[in-house]
């Protein structure tokens, strides 16, 4: 046991450096203030959202449904995150050689990896669940048992999605190692599974209908849908120590059993994942090519991008959803407009149709701002950043090449979505031109913002790509700021639409605002970020 505790302590020291900012000139105050500000922002947003949900539920005395919704949402979120994080967090870690050479069981190594995974998911889950749990206390007079039950619930909630995602992660890694281009295979397989999970999540309506026929009560329905959600509701409404014990035993046994069973397979898959297929049949067959500086830098960035499955999945998923959204929008348009008309009878189908260009503008903003690629690009240089800094190339050129690469990656997805929407709905020539310009300017804003954030919060000592892409300060700040900008944009667009402003004028105004933001960001980049770039040490 002592050994395991020492191991966890040693491994977590490097991993828990979530807020470690490697920049000597960064003031201590901003290091502390930013995470607090972000936490308050997320907490407050979720808390407001929870209040919005619970209010109508109070009228029908079904407040506990709020908690089951949040348990279910957290489960889906952890599972989706876990699927594309697990392969990277479990396999090919930098400390593999050290851990596997120690006189400890292979299962212990897997346990350490999964435990680290658990701790991070626990933090994320708490960020979502705690506001809902607090909101519940505001509306319902809870019994004293509510508090220990909720704490135990928080601690055990990540287990089921983690166990599922490590099984899927192992299967993905084991399958992809059989392919010549295992990274590409892993990206494709992960995307398929994620889309499948999303498909199921969006089609829960049918599952719920089916379960509702068999369920004896709402709580029974929730339990049938997802056991922890039902168990939690049962424990807080009608506490029984046996239910609590059963819940604890089920979760811990599941965790222990999965570690026990997957221990040996883990070692085999890890060995295969490390194996690099080399080709010795290219004697003197190498190609010497010349290229200009920026295209060569873009090529280098692109090679890095496609070689990292977690990077591709993280960046590409929002973009794929954007294209799917553009495909689904005309198909589901009628049912969507009927639903809107039910809530707001004054809105006609024609009005919604004429608002489509503004909706598309909003979708472009959302998908671009929430798919920041550049917010990881500096950190993903790791120690090779020194090579880049020793080259006779201006930092501004290096930074621009990263922004251009990200925009080149995003642009095809956005343009495909645009074209699909142009074909299915009526757009004037001016609207088409404005949307296409927006499809270039908005990703430029998102990616310039991303690189500025990454230069401000670099993490050059990460253990693997997942730490950079999912668990670094830079990626968190980029997502939060992206969410904030998206929220402001959508809110502003809604106000303009409510005031019956001209559609073309709304898009034009949006475009002007984003162009101004882009210019401001470029000025900032040129003046401040370059200096910060030169100060990054690794």
């Amino acid at each position: 046991m002592k050994k395991i505790i020492s191991l966890i302590k040693a491994c977590m020291t490097s991993d828990m450096s979530l807020f470690k900012i490697k920049n000597n000139n960064q003031s201590k105050r901003s290091r502390v203030l930013l995470p607090i500000f972000l936490f308050i922002m997320v907490f407050f947003s979720i808390w407001s959202y929870a209040n919005m949900i619970i209010e109508p539920l109070t009228k029908i005395h079904l407040e506990y449904v709020l908690l089951s919704i949040f348990v279910l949402f957290t489960f889906i979120l952890t599972l989706v995150e876990g699927i594309y994080k697990s392969s990277n967090l479990l396999f090919n870690c930098k400390d593999d050689n050290l851990l596997l050479s120690l006189p400890i069981k292979r299962r212990t190594v897997l346990f350490i990896r999964v435990f680290k995974f658990y701790v991070f998911e626990l933090i994320y889950n708490t960020m979502f669940m705690a506001p809902a749990m607090i909101t519940y206390i505001r509306y319902v007079k809870v019994t004293p048992s509510y508090y220990p039950v909720s704490i135990i619930m928080l601690l055990l909630l990540p287990i089921i999605p983690i166990v599922l995602s490590i099984i899927i992660g192992m299967l993905l890694s084991a399958t992809s190692t059989k392919f010549k281009y295992k990274n590409i295979a892993q990206i494709i397989l992960t995307t398929i599974i994620l889309l499948f999970v999303f498909y199921i999540s969006f089609n829960l309506e049918n599952v719920v209908k089916d379960l509702a026929l068999k369920a004896t009560s709402i709580n029974d329905l929730i339990t049938r849908l997802y056991y922890p959600a039902g168990a939690y509701v049962k424990m807080i409404t009608n506490f029984d120590i046996l239910d609590l014990l059963l819940f604890i035993i089920i979760n811990i046994s599941l965790f222990a059993l999965s570690i026990y069973l997957l221990g040996n397979t883990y070692f085999k898959v890890n060995s295969c994942a490390k194996a690099v297929k080399t080709n010795h049949n290219h004697h003197n067959n190498y190609k010497i090519k010349t290229n200009k500086v920026i295209p060569s830098l873009i090529k280098k960035e692109f090679t890095k991008f496609i070689s990292s499955p977690v990077f591709v999945t993280n960046a590409g998923f929002g973009l794929v959803l954007f294209v799917l959204g553009c495909i689904i929008l005309p198909i589901k348009f009628e049912s969507l407009t009927t639903a809107i008309a039910t809530i707001e009878p004054s809105v006609s189908i024609e009005t919604i149709k004429s608002n489509i260009p503004v909706i598309l503008f909003g979708l472009i903003c959302t998908s671009s701002l929430l798919s920041s690629i550049t917010s990881s690009m500096i950190s993903l240089e790791y120690k090779s950043f020194n090579i880049l800094k020793s080259l006779p190339v201006k930092p501004y050129t290096i930074i621009l090449s990263k922004i251009y690469t990200a925009v080149i990656i995003m642009l095809p997805f956005i343009l495909i979505g645009d074209i699909i929407t142009f074909i299915n709905f009526k757009f004037t020539f001016i609207q088409i031109v404005l949307i296409i310009i927006s499809s270039i300017i908005i990703p430029l804003v998102a990616e310039t913002l991303g690189i500025i954030i990454n230069i401000k919060y670099p993490k050059m000592d990460a253990e693997n790509d997942t730490q950079v892409v999912k668990q670094s300060m830079s990626s968190m700040v980029a997502v939060m700021l992206g969410m904030l900008l998206t929220f402001i944009t959508i809110y502003s667009l809604a106000i303009c639409l409510n005031n019956n402003m001209n559609i073309d004028l709304i898009i034009l105004l949006g475009l002007i605002v984003y162009t101004l933001i882009y210019i401001i960001l470029l000025i900032y980049l040129n003046n401040k970020s370059i200096k910060e770039f030169n100060l990054i040490n690794c």
């Binding site: 000597n24 690099v276 297929k277 080399t278 080709n279 010795h280 290219h282 004697h283 003197n284 067959n285 190498y286 190609k287 010497i288 090519k289 010349t290 290229n291 200009k292 500086v293 060569s296 830098l297 090529k299 280098k300 090679t303 890095k304 070689s307 990292s308 790791y382 120690k383 090779s384 020194n386 090579i387 800094k389 020793s390 080259l391 006779p392 190339v393 201006k394 030169n534 100060l535 040490n537």
Partner: protein, 234 residues
């Protein structure tokens, strides 16, 4: 020529380089020796423009690395101690990438790549991705890419670590060739007998301060370099 003028570099309260000054002439093989953590890599990173420094200046062929970093970097090539190259790239793509950054024309790069790939016995491996390479092979790729743009000044951080004897011999040959052409070589090392045999000048650094600098003869006199170094460390 490299001129280091009163360079001071601090990491918070820790002074990594304390008022370091010396000159490395053209056609000179210059060894930079010191204990682990003495400040060797910090100085090398300052010379190559990877790190900024707090005081002083570094001139590369008369140009300041602070004021004219790009022009200075064009004169130099840098081989890091632990070659963290772009692992996902093919070796040839990495070398091409470095050549692109130095704007090396096709003929020059072709001649140099072929010459050094053959010398370091890496011809068969240039089409492989770098992540499949051993430490020594990565070091060779770093060397080939550094030499492929005909640098005036070659800067290496611990260049002999992890290399096989044949590669060490080849590097020494390359160094001799470069010196004959009037080029400058500056490297840090722990291997004192190699430094003793190869270098015309040497500098010893201790806790960020330069404790000795001069020709090999001036530094060691009748003693061995190892003995002088150990005496200074005590």
């Amino acid at each position: 020529m490299i001129e280091i003028k009163n360079v001071t570099k601090k990491y918070g309260d820790n002074v990594a380089l304390n008022n370091v000054s010396f000159k490395v002439d053209d056609g000179c093989v210059f060894a930079f020796i010191g204990h682990n953590g003495a400040g060797k890599t910090t100085l090398i990173k300052a010379i190559t423009g990877i790190h900024d420094f707090d005081e002083g200046d570094i001139l590369i062929n008369g140009k300041s690395i602070k004021k004219d970093a790009i022009e200075c970097k064009k004169e130099m090539a840098f081989v890091p101690d632990n070659p963290e190259l772009y692992e996902n790239m093919k070796a040839i793509d990495f070398i091409n990438f470095i050549c692109d950054m130095y704007e090396v024309d096709y003929v020059t790069r072709k001649n140099n790549i072929n010459k050094y790939a053959k010398m370091f016995e890496m011809e068969d491996h240039l089409n492989e991705t770098i992540d499949s390479f051993s430490h020594g092979m990565k070091q060779k790729i770093a060397l080939i890419s550094a030499l492929s743009h005909n640098p005036q000044i070659l800067i290496m951080d611990e260049p002999f670590v992890g290399l096989d004897p044949k590669a060490v011999f080849d590097i020494k040959q390359v160094m001799n060739e470069m010196v004959k052409e009037g080029k400058t070589i500056f490297f840090s090392t722990h291997i004192l007998d190699v430094a003793e045999k190869l270098c015309s000048k040497v500098a010893i650094i201790k806790q960020g301060r330069l404790v000795k600098v001069g020709t090999m003869k001036e530094i060691k006199g009748d003693k061995s370099l190892e003995k002088v170094f150990l005496e200074l460390e005590q």
